[in-house]
Symmetry: C2
Subunit: 226 residues, 2 copies
DNA sequence: ACAAAAGTGTTTTCTCTACACCCATGA
DNA sequence: TCATGGGTGTAGAGAAAACACTTTTGT
């Protein structure tokens, strides 16, 4: 028991890399840091872990405060522990990436923090090592999108295959053959065709799809080879 | 500045999942816990993070103490932060997996801790959530082995393709076709054929290979499809 | 009429897999 | 000589990629 006493204790924070998708672009939610040091500079959503919550619970809490959303997809990415990564006091930072449906997102909550969605290719410089965190999270997002359909996390509940393809093109920064993408995705058997059609994006109109409710968690299939 | 003061601080530990390969089997290095609670039960190599070191440095320090080796391959796996995962006081645990070449390993260091190599299929019950940690690390090892040749980390500096294949069979718990495995691995272009032959494992004798020194870090190729 | 996306089908290319086969050699 | 691994080659299955083509409809 005594053994525990002699060791140091550290502040523990969570930082959330919040991805959203809007207007054909993958976006990141950033906000100006509210306190010193580097107050006012752009930063990831973050907060300290409290006495009786896990890091994951802390991340959910932070996201709920800043976006008004709960039940958000979260995945742990990496823990940064460099003793000098923050200047005032050592902070252990556990990072998560989150996928947000911007159509559900409550702007009012965010505005009070000054948060802003940034296109993934036009990010401002971030505080501390947050740029590295974002880069790692992007790689993880690509990995996740490659083995499970991230459409349900980033798109509205109904979406066309064009919308899904454009999302994948935004994530992977490349184009996909429309025909092949359609066949591949439908062959996974996790999408359900709806009766409604979307006529805003093409003359002919495209059927809406949604992710089947009773699908298994992991598809085990490759959507994008890498 | 004041903002920092009000938040709690936690003990921070590293736990190392140490893989080795010997006698055709993938093995895990475990040791009997040296202090209460659950003193004497089997546990991962672990230790607390000190004031002026990063978690990665702490993991290297722990490994050096217990195995006598430095410059070991380490990769961060996951951070466990459940407030009740340890019974005495809350501990944030950052886990790493390590790959050890048992041929280099110094037995004397380890014996003083009572450490023991366990075949991966015959692990004893571990303390706390360490069994889960091991399971996750195994998945990560499979992933790593799938996209980079782990031979250099787990095998002696010279190895035959039979030895490499047996290693992969131990990791993936399946067999690989000898001819196909050879072609696939050689096609990656990261192995260099040596002049020496190994005659202990076959009548004909097989050439030794080593990993090319100037290879790029990531191979970007799939060795094992998954 | 035309452009643009929807949707389907075909061809080519490539990789994985299974498996046949010869070689070398120690027991 | 026979069993065992070393090492090479080939044929078939299946997936990915390239791309041709037809449909629909707003402008």
């Amino acid at each position: 028991m005594e053994y525990y006493k002699q060791h140091p204790r550290f502040l523990t924070a969570v930082d959330c890399v919040v991805f959203g998708y809007e207007a054909g672009e993958l976006k990141l939610l950033l906000y100006p840091r509210a306190f010193e040091p580097v107050k006012g500079e752009w930063s990831l959503m973050g907060g300290f872990v409290r006495e009786n919550e896990s890091a994951e619970e802390a991340a959910h809490r932070v996201l709920c405060q800043t976006t008004g959303l709960d039940n958000i997809f979260l995945e742990q990415v990496y823990t940064f522990s460099n003793p000098t990564r923050e200047s005032v006091e050592r902070v252990i930072s556990i990072t998560y990436f989150a996928l947000i449906r911007i159509d559900r997102y409550k702007r009012n909550n965010t505005d009070s923090f000054g948060a802003k969605w940034w296109p993934i290719n036009e990010l401002p410089p971030l505080i501390f090592d947050h740029n590295e965190v974002v880069a790692q999270s992007l790689r993880r997002l690509e990995q996740k999108a490659g083995s499970s359909l991230v459409g349900s996390e980033l798109l509205p509940s109904r979406f066309t295959l064009l919308q899904l393809r454009k999302l994948y093109e935004a994530i992977y920064q490349r184009t996909f053959d429309p025909g092949n993408f359609r066949k591949k995705v439908l062959s996974l058997g996790v999408l359900e065709k709806l009766d409604q059609k979307n006529s805003t994006e093409s003359k002919k109109g495209a059927y809406y799809y949604k992710v089947k409710p009773n699908r298994v968690e992991e598809e085990l299939e490759r959507i994008v080879k890498y």
